[in-house]
């Protein structure tokens, strides 16, 4: 019984790394740009496909590919920002929401047209490797994802709180007009932030490729969970993303393990967490 409990905890911890990686970019976009980016899941999908093709065509390991995947999405997001997002930043938030939803649908269908709808998988040496500690066994691939995730979040935290650029990003997030008045190039900071957020999504895509493959429809599930995580963490709260990811992953793992029929029901856990978080927040501030 204790073995099952420990393995469930390990499963949750491992899964939280993937969730944190998928959510951190969205937290940045929402926190700084105040954009609910519905295309975030499709940016993740782009990253997975970049890593997939680099693996198939050049034999590059997906872990190494997270750098080019992030770079490709960083550049692509610059184009997307200049061509569309920038134009709705001052409009009511619904405009940006619908715009990013459209971008997401477009990317998804482009991927179906170009790559087909069938998932694509890669293989790596560590895909078959697991680390065993007593009764607990975890895969090396998700362990690496967890480590990368924590390292990236720590890196982002350091950039935001220890560098001039980070200070500028935080200033713009707090007060766009004030930041503009003190001479900050707000538009450029938005562009940079959107690029970093999109690159983080692509990196998450490259990381999950090893475990679940790449497919045009893979992003939607991640973006829903990422929304639950940033709602729990508090909109724009980067440091909260890690623990919120852990809460979601733990809740899902325990529902799957201990609730009869939990395999299907676990996918509804994030709805409940969003619901309870919002109710609790409104009750606290009432």
């Amino acid at each position: 019984m204790m073995d099952l409990f420990l393995q469930t905890l390990a499963n949750a911890l491992i899964q939280s790394g993937t969730y944190a990686l998928a959510s951190s970019g969205l937290a940045l976009a929402v926190g700084v740009l105040h954009i609910v980016n519905f295309a975030h899941g499709e940016f993740l999908m782009v990253g997975a496909f970049v890593a997939y093709w680099l693996s198939v065509l050049a034999g590059i390991d997906p872990i190494v590919s997270l750098v080019p995947a992030g770079a490709v999405m960083f550049a692509a997001s610059g184009v997307i920002y200049q061509a569309s997002i920038r134009r709705v930043l001052l409009a009511p938030e619904l405009n940006a929401l619908l715009l990013t939803f459209g971008i997401g649908i477009t990317l998804q269908n482009l991927a179906v047209l170009v790559f087909g709808a069938t998932p694509r998988v890669v293989h790596t040496a560590y895909q078959l490797t697991a680390v065993t500690l007593g009764p607990v066994s975890v895969g090396v691939a998700p362990l690496i994802t967890l480590i990368v995730s924590v390292a990236l979040l720590a890196g982002m935290y350091a950039v935001l709180y220890r560098t001039g650029v980070g200070k500028s990003i935080r200033a713009v997030a707090q007060n766009r007009t004030g930041a503009h008045l003190v001479g900050l190039d707000v538009d450029r900071i938005y562009l940079l932030t959107f690029g970093i957020a999109s690159a983080l999504a692509a990196i998450a895509g490259a990381m999950v490729l090893v475990r679940i493959g790449a497919s045009p429809h893979m992003g939607f599930g991640f973006v829903l969970k990422a929304f639950a995580i940033i709602v729990m963490a508090g909109l724009g709260n980067l440091t909260g993303v890690l623990w919120a990811s852990l809460v979601l992953a733990t809740a899902e793992a325990f529902v799957r393990t201990y609730v009869p029929g939990g395999g299907g029901a676990a996918e509804a856990v994030f709805f409940l967490l969003i619901f309870f978080t919002l109710v609790w927040r409104s009750w606290r501030t009432a």
């Binding site: 499963n11 998988v121 293989h123 895969g139 599930g221």
Partner: protein
Amino acid sequence: MNKLAVVLVVVALLAMGGTEGLAQREQVRIGISLPLTGPASASGKAAEAGYRLALDEINKAGGVLGRRLQVFIEDDGNLPAKGVPIFTKFVTVDRVHAITGIFGSAIGVSIVGPAKLHEPLIAMLGAASPLVERGFEGYKYLFHYHPWAYHNMEAVFNFMEFVRTGTGASTIAILYEDGPFGSAGIGDTRSELIKRGFDVPFMESFKTGSGDFTALLTRAKRHPVDVLFWIGFDADALPIAVQSREIGFKPRLIFGSPASWPVGYEGNPVARDVAGMAGWTSASPLPASKEFVKKYQAKFGSLSEEYMAPMGYTILTSLAAAMNKAGTTDKDRVTAELAKTDADTPVGRLRFKPSRLSPSVYQGFDSDLWMVFQFREGRRVPVWPKHVAAGPLAWRWR
């Protein structure tokens, strides 16, 4: 003068249209509705390749009734909202002599009304749900080539019995996706397996595409399971195989039944000896299959492992043969000839018989269509039934 010119131009245009219309009528026309985009596009594109291969072959051999065979291929996206207008267009605009394709059961059910209104000859590619079978009750012009869903399950049970008697396996864990594909009749599946001597200590649903199976597999691992049987989609194949390894869950056989498998899965070491069910594999030893593989490679330069490719090929060639034998495109006479079909095809012997739930429907293949393969050396090696097996069942998942 101007009026005369206008009249002459109109007459000329009408004449051209009339000539074109005549030319169109001279051809034998078949409408093909396939999911060329969307989640089922892998199967749809494979079927399209099979139809095109057959079309080339038929026209090179002189066409149908000495006339060129023309096909109208439309993308229904596996959506009834597209499939029904396409079906109606085939009948009313293209005025085809027969309609084929129709992969998804949702479209199969949706076209029941238009079909009964226009009564075209239909050679159905997929649509395995018995709802389609029931819907077409009393219809005289439906040839359903693909096995029905209950045939598919019969094949699974027969294979499981083969595993039990051949290896002594006695316990099965079942993972099934919680949508209609995985959960329809899952209780009956469990009962049938128990009736056939298996113990099913673990059965759990999952959300397809969720990507996280570790918790479910952790629970399954607690039972001494010989076989892990999962019913889901291609997106679930890799996570199940990878995460089984990650948590140290090693059933002696992993058997999945998605309609298609991920690209690159067969070459992945994690897939080694994972078993799946297919209507056909390119390694099939049937002479007609070997011939098909040769022709397919000659035309496309590559090979499809999707069984919808030989199914599409089989449908069009049998339909053309029936028209030639009937000596006409008249649907009653073609129906009579098609019903007499007895031919070796790449997917096995094709003979039509009255469908089980709706005897007016002509049913082609049944549970005998299915074979079980295992991924080995980057290929799908048939291991069951005996007459198509190219190797033994590997009974210890490495």
